[in-house]
Symmetry: D2
Subunit: 327 residues, 4 copies
């Protein structure tokens, strides 16, 4: 049995819709087990500076539906140094925190692993990032909300596309992986999707568009992930225009609005289940793990395994489907 | 190998967001395999009356994002008679349709099974209903969208709740099961959830509310599924008010708006994958089945098994979580 | 010139989207003129109890986009007594408040007028109610947002309506006036609108529906204001069903979700302009007035005139247009 | 009295939400007066090519809530030639069209005026453009919807802004005027607004941001209209970053999604009133005019006057308010 008396919870890295819902679930599940909770503000930076606050049930009222993170987030190079981590640990000890729940992405997890091993403090991580690029879970918190945000934008562009002969390029987030581009591309009915994982040359793209044009499509949408290898959406648009001048081309860059918004039902449920599970795992004595959803089941993976398998695999079948849908 | 030359596709029963996306996927996947597609309008009624139309790629342009069903839907008692089914089969044969994809719920599936057995016509079913009450799939088409619709309503009510001391009762769909009530209740942060599956007495409900009141909640939301055993949301509200008069009580009945709306990203992806899979299953010679998602995998279940196991099981863990979240 | 040093601001009565935006504008405009601001919580109740808080620029950060009211609201019978108002004045004096901005409806304005006359304290009122039922302004705060909320609901119902032959009854707010019913009815394309101001008999309604039926409408929407004289939406639906049985009838009651939601752009701009104007009016020495928008101009009307002219007039031309649109 | 027997209606130029609602109102008002309606597709191009279709009441069912324009739109250089207009007139005459309703912007109106004078055909114009840059009306169709679209984007960015110390640049439409930038900037609570009408130097912008920084703002949003004189949003962001390096800077370019989306309640009502009024004006014998809303009244202005007064004036008071709000 666990002897955990106080859990510290923090968010770190880029924020994602659903982080607040996860914080709320961590707090209320801990309180349910008569464990106290300390909110650590601004991630590792706040840990080093002792920016702590006791969280009670009311502290997390009315945050379930809010985007962003009430605990704020920050980058913290100092935590990568042993001195920084020493300061953090001193604060943690002083505050009586004997376990941690970390919500964030890859960098957050790496920090949690090092810290946990160095100071033998139990930690459970929750994957919170819109990029859906973490091992050990089918979905990360915020990915579903981000997809919904992107398809709302695409739907609006399609309204106007129906009125003109136009070729729209929409840049979406995804520096290293094309999850949002692929999902939102399929859900938005895009004519082509440019992903970092799949090196689509401009000529291939133009071939796709030529086929669509022959089928009398009056307008087309190309989704371009940030990390596409052709040098950015403006470059793609410009190079397409040079050879494929039938259409008027227009560019949208969605940017950070993809990180915001009230979390979707899916993300709120997922966050609630993950927060609940993370605390229960700590109580069961499991530690140094990351929570994930596999199929419809919440599970945990060791941080070691999760961090070793950085290579995120794109859903190949969905990629095939996206091509079939553009027949 | 299959010798299917023409697939007939129809929607039947109550409509659900995502049905159009599934129709689009069926049409385009079939065309990809050089199979022709006939749209059968108004479900079994249109099958009996021969209300058919050839569907080409452009027929399903710009429907991905639309709620409802372009093929319309209707109830059809005549299809329950052998005479009705005979007429339907004659039309199907005349049109050269040699396989069917049916999108709908329980009644749709039952009709498909009987018809398929009687006339030896291959059929694959796609679960399209917001009620999430079908066996063989973790999620039905439209359930995610309906949950998002309900939580948007709850979020709005919460805005106003924050300004007053009020007790809100929100009736959501679910005559026989509490899936929407449970999911939307957890995702919306409701103080109590009244489900058909769990016979919560008014006194128990009042106990829950008393506890919340003691924790100084300034307003509360109770989600009531249509099928709750206490006689409807007005009755619940009235009986609570008699014994628990601290709060002003207000009632919302969301009704059919839960069936509408542009499908969520989740439902569009699910619909697209299911439509794609349904056609491929028919081509692989699988028949008399229903498509489902289990975990992250699209699978099929025989109609016989699916219809035998009508008992839908509520997610017990989520029910527990909903109680813990109200600490 | 004014010698106002501290303004007290409060919200009272039913809340409305845009109240927060108005509070923000009052605070920031006052600060711009080096006037201090006290937030009076829970309306007249908080005034009597001295529930005050100093508001600085940051106090109103990030509230522009929020529904509800950060100052909360409450009903307060005690303020109708001279003793209650005496207590309120003592608190106001103690806090150094020498002018008031009141945001709310009819009751709020009446309280403000009596109080202002009794204790000679300058007051400016801002019309904040979704009902659009105040004299001296074309639009009240929250009306536009509420209309958008209602038409989103109607649009969703229409999605599902397109799939079936159904008659939908949607109850919207409006106990004494049909503003929301009329606007949302026109903007939502309803087949009929039942208003308190226009005593439509059930037989007349059925005549309208018969005409629509003859034009082969496959589904219809009837908007019913709460205050319709036929005894409530269920009663209307039941009585129509008795004589007009072609359609399946369905009822939605939107209730308090109409009061919530992030304010629309229109309401945010209106609130900002009104809050700015209210403070400037006080500085110009105008008092005992209510702010309004007439055409595109922000103006003020004396409270005496505003409260004498309670009779709100429905837009007759829009009513005519609503009938022409249903040809 | 008018002897109009058939009205031709078309949309031209950039599309705008509410155009469909206006088409519907034109069609149904004409039918109400027993006047027939021809839909002219793709604006002047379709007029020249005779791309016409009879519109009945059902033709405009379910378009009220749709973005874009069912009549499509196109640019048409040929209409600027007398030969082009001759062809157009021949088609119009052949179709029996004896009056026109044109929905669009400046270019649409110019074409309508020339054509109407040349061939003595009565025409009424409806201002449909998100840019709100036409003389004779306080608001153009689509402006309110576009503002709502932009503030939803800003609200989402603010969610994520609350979590980090960041400076966001959001480019919105407005090549020649800053209406959207100003309205959405005020409604979105932006820290600074860069307009074509107001030549804000980068140094001035940095001064504004410095002041905000001193007030401890943790994140800031700068709205940049397309037509800002500093050379585009990327340039602005880059030049700010060079001198003001406290913040991480991020850019969003909303692009054409601002033209789409289901029209707001405001735009649907405005479109309906304008369409109704346009037809009635033609019947009253008024011609060569443009419909507008001035205050709460629908009026008309002669095309001559409207086109002479191209200079659109920014709302100076709102500009002042935007600065006061950033105190």
């Amino acid at each position: 049995m666990s002897t955990i008396k106080r859990i510290g919870v923090y968010t770190s890295g880029g924020d994602a819709p659903g982080m607040n819902a996860a914080i709320r679930a961590v707090v209320r599940t801990a309180l349910f087990h008569n464990i106290k909770v300390t909110g650590i503000y601004r991630g590792y930076e706040g840990m080093i500076e002792g920016d702590f606050k006791d969280l009670v049930s009311r502290s997390v009222s009315s945050i379930l539906q809010k985007g962003g993170t009430m605990l704020k987030s920050a980058r913290c190079p100092e935590f990568r140094t042993p001195e920084g981590r020493k300061k953090a640990f001193d604060n943690i000890q002083k505050a009586g925190i004997d376990a941690l729940v970390a919500i964030g992405g890859d960098g957050t997890f790496t920090g949690a692993k090092v810290f946990s091993e160095e100071y033998n403090i139990p930690v459970m991580c929750i994957p919170g990032t819109i990029d859906n690029d973490l091992y050990g879970t089918d979905f990360t918190l915020g990915f579903d909300t981000a997809n919904n945000t992107v398809i709302e934008a695409i739907d609006k562009i399609k309204d106007t596309a129906a009125s003109h002969n136009r070729l729209f390029f929409v840049e979406v987030m995804g520096r290293d992986n094309g999850s949002i581009a692929l999902y939102a591309g399929v859900a938005g009915g895009a004519e082509a999707i440019m992903l970092p994982e799949k090196d689509t040359a401009i000529d291939e793209l133009i071939d796709l568009l030529e086929v669509a044009k022959e089928r009398n499509k009056t307008s087309m949408i190309v989704i371009v992930a940030e990390g596409d290898k052709n040098g950015g959406v403006y470059n793609v648009a410009k190079r397409v225009k040079e050879k494929f001048d039938f259409y008027d081309t227009k560019v949208s860059i969605l940017g950070h609005l993809q990180r915001g918004g009230s979390p979707s039902s899916f993300d709120r449920i997922l966050a609630t289940r993950m927060g609940y599970f993370a605390v229960n795992e700590l109580l069961r004595g499991n530690t140094n793990g990351t929570v994930g959803i596999r199929g419809s089941k919440i599970t945990s993976t060791s941080l070691e395994e999760a961090l070793k398998n950085k290579e995120f695999k794109l859903d190949e079948e969905l990629l095939t489907i996206s091509e079939v849908m553009n027949i």
